[in-house]
Amino acid sequence: MLKKRGGPDREPTFSPDISKGENISYSSLPSVDRKTIIGEHITIDGQIHGKESLIIEGAMKGKIMLEKNQITVGAKGRVEAEIHADNVTISGRLTGNVKALGKVSITSGANFTGEIKAKSISVEDGAYLKAAIELEQEPQKGIPPDAKPASIGAKPVSSFEKKPIIPGADPIKKN
């Protein structure tokens, strides 16, 4: 028997009790738990839209629109696509632009070329990237608003200050 989760206002979700030998119906799983896997020996050329998470271990070329779900390019995945998703994990080869409402995670074996727009990003050392990255949130400025950073941005070179602007820095020679 399937157990109903959530109240009357929520989309009914069901969780099979595997320990009791209950049958698992894929369509009964909540959409966030559903995953489609494109296998290593599958090649797709075209567009993918939907409301399930996607794992790509094969080859994919085109456009992937899964705004509320997760896309994973597996270690063997070869993808050349524009991607819109909630969260994106890249472990394989991906060329294209990625727009994520949430986080983009790039693991050490990844090879990514393209643009990334996301709320946050994590990149493991060892990953290869040739990318332009923008975070959707307001950039967290490194300086408090009331602090006055050294005003060097718009000055011509000739007007640079002669002293280092950083207190405590002790270079032995400055030009």
Partner: protein
């Protein structure tokens, strides 16, 4: 353990440089300058580091990363001339407000270095800035090292022994000559041998031509 910093002499020190780090004056000046520019776009040509990426994204609106160390190492292993780097460094003109070259010049020959400078000059906006770091004594950096950014603009060398790029030592004068298309803005020399340079593209500076030889 005694830490090797910019404040302490190298002599008789047995500390590993990657454990010490030093405060980068130039990096602080560079980022504070970028912070004041609207829609600032930074290009990092160093080895990919998640830590550095997240650090830079706190200071600029857009960050581009293009790992030249990885590219040069790969080309060298394939016995291909690094002079083809324009195929890798292929950004449109006047794109960036700042470019971080790190210590890349320590690992490229003169011909490649000239091409790098031309590419940087072409892709940086007028008023944009460039950071160059030259590592010092080979005893301190026995293998190719990149830098991880820590708190308070401290740079921690990260040895990359798997990379096989030969060290090309250059004197101060050679660096300044190489970067002639840019205006020299500031430099610092630290006790650990590291030299940091800040250059700027003049507001009225014409775009570098690929065919123009700026240094022979």
């Amino acid at each position: 353990m005694t830490l090797l910093t910019a404040d302490q002499p190298l002599k008789n020190s047995i500390v590993k440089p990657e454990e010490s780090g030093y405060k980068s004056n130039v990096l602080q000046m560079f980022l504070e300058g970028l912070h004041q520019r609207d829609g600032s776009h930074l290009l990092d040509l160093g080895l990919i580091s998640g830590n550095n990426i997240n650090f830079f994204l706190r200071w600029v609106n857009k960050l581009s990363v293009c790992d030249m160390f990885h590219y040069l190492d790969r080309e060298r292993r394939r016995r291909r001339p690094a002079g083809r780097l324009e195929q890798h460094f292929d950004f449109p003109p006047l794109t960036f407000d700042g470019i971080l070259l790190w210590n890349l010049f320590d690992y490229v020959d003169n011909q490649t270095a000239v091409k790098l400078v031309q590419r940087c000059h072409k892709s940086i906006k007028p008023g944009g800035r460039l950071i160059v770091i030259v590592q010092g004594d080979p005893i301190v950096f026995p293998v190719l090292s990149t830098f991880a950014i820590g708190e308070n603009f401290r740079l921690y060398p990260r040895p990359q022994p798997h990379m096989s790029l030969p060290l090309q030592r250059r004197q101060n004068r050679e660096i300044l000559t190489l970067l002639t298309p840019f205006s020299f803005a500031k430099s610092f020399l630290f006790r650990n041998g590291i030299k940091e340079y800040l250059f700027q593209r003049d507001e009225d500076s014409p775009i570098s031509g690929e065919s123009k030889d700026q240094m022979k």
